[in-house]
Symmetry: C2
């Protein structure tokens, strides 16, 4: 049985301000919640009787604050079109690996004002697939803990750390380090002819405007995803998550 205050509180977590103040986020659905439970500290969980019955192996990971709810009650707190048996409030996690350290140790991603929460979630999911452990986002990038982003990550939040930093400041500090800084542009050398390293930073730009000029000025290796056939008329660009995937796949193909 859900109290009115509880309903009000969970709904308030749709707002970034409230999530940040409390250091929490909401995740929904059987698969996502069970994927996150081993990695994030759950503060609260609401699920149907059936869910509790089906998941005895998760009992030791459940928070002390749990509610058994009906489908109707779940619908009242869910941000999903079709609520799926379980909703949990988890504590956010912070990781303070500095950009310089992450970029020296392996490949990391940098997102310059990615606006769409679904794109951000999809990028986190593909970063996980390609063994990219750190994503550095501009402050204007969508919130990693927003409901649409969390749902699109499909549990990859457990393995990928998302940081919000001042990109120019971060890149300026790397200026003399020799760290390769890759950026994708609509006119540049082909990805397939460019030398690619095993560490460094791959910068992806905003959906409509690409990489901002101030950030682009730090790029040391420009890349372009060639269309096919090269001279045929086509769309002006690829979706940013699609472009990120093609680039990360090529880095990993070359190993």
């Amino acid at each position: 049985m859900l109290s009115k205050n509880r309903i009000k509180y969970i709904r308030s977590l749709a707002l970034k301000k409230q999530r940040t103040a409390d250091g929490v986020f909401v995740a929904e659905g059987r698969k996502l919640v069970s994927d996150l439970l081993p990695h994030f500290s759950a503060r609260y969980l609401a699920a149907t009787r059936q869910w509790f019955d089906d998941n005895p192996q998760l009992a030791s990971r459940l928070p002390s604050d749990c509610d058994v709810v009906t489908d109707d009650e779940l619908r009242r707190i869910s941000a999903q079109e079709t609520p799926q048996s379980v909703l949990a409030v988890f504590g956010q996690q912070t990781d303070d690996t500095p950009l310089a350290e992450a970029a020296a140790a392996g490949l990391c991603l940098m997102l310059d004002d990615i606006q769409n929460p679904g794109n951000l979630g999809t990028i986190i999911r593909l970063a996980d697939w390609f063994g990219i452990r750190h994503i550095y986002c501009s402050h204007a990038t969508a919130d990693v803990y927003g409901p649409k982003t969390v749902q699109a990550t499909m549990g990859s939040l457990a393995r990928v750390h998302v940081h919000y930093i001042d990109l120019e400041q971060g890149l300026s500090a790397l200026r003399d380090s020799g760290t390769p800084i890759y950026g994708t542009f609509l006119s540049a050398p082909s990805l397939y002819e460019a030398p690619l390293s095993r560490h460094g930073i791959i910068i992806m730009g905003n959906e409509g405007n690409g990489i901002s000029p101030a950030v682009a000025s730090h790029v040391t290796r420009r890349l372009f995803i060639p269309s096919f056939p090269p001279d045929a008329p086509t769309g002006e660009s690829l979706n940013v998550a699609i472009a990120t995937a093609i680039i990360c796949a090529e880095f990993r193909r070359r190993k």
Copy 2:
């Protein structure tokens, strides 16, 4: 000035049944509408005074049935969160290139029950980028003319033909043709070690369940997108549009 009947009619086009009966679809936004106007026959267009003033070069392509509307009126007929100056109703186009012909002439895509309209639109957009002119969808795949799909194509509908067919029937007819039929699975030979041809069919499966067993039985060349590093824990899969992009990019890289 919009009539009540007009508002009611345009809203009714949110339903596939109505769109199919009338052979039309709705597109919104400055860029999308101007990209589609040269390729599709516009039946109706509503835009702000500013839009008409800004686009004198489009005058010859406008339908005889046009309305000058206010932002408020546009909001009443728009399916978008933030309506953008212009909405148009276009006639659907049919292309009857048979699967066998398209697959013999070049690469084509086949979608086995892709549910998410945004995924479908993103796949159409990337097919355009990679010069794939035909996509064959199962009848249960999302409707290409749904508003979310149309918006996600970013105008690529002008160059990519989307067909709805019985996949098993289509594939059965190809059985002895020697046409390569590729399918992506979570366990198969690496995409990067597989021979790839310049023609044939690439099948992509449903978001949750992958390629259905009946369709999978027609696949002659199984592919897998390797994660990195190969033995590290990762998510269970990639988003279907992301997987499609990585596969199409690799076909085109090899030329």
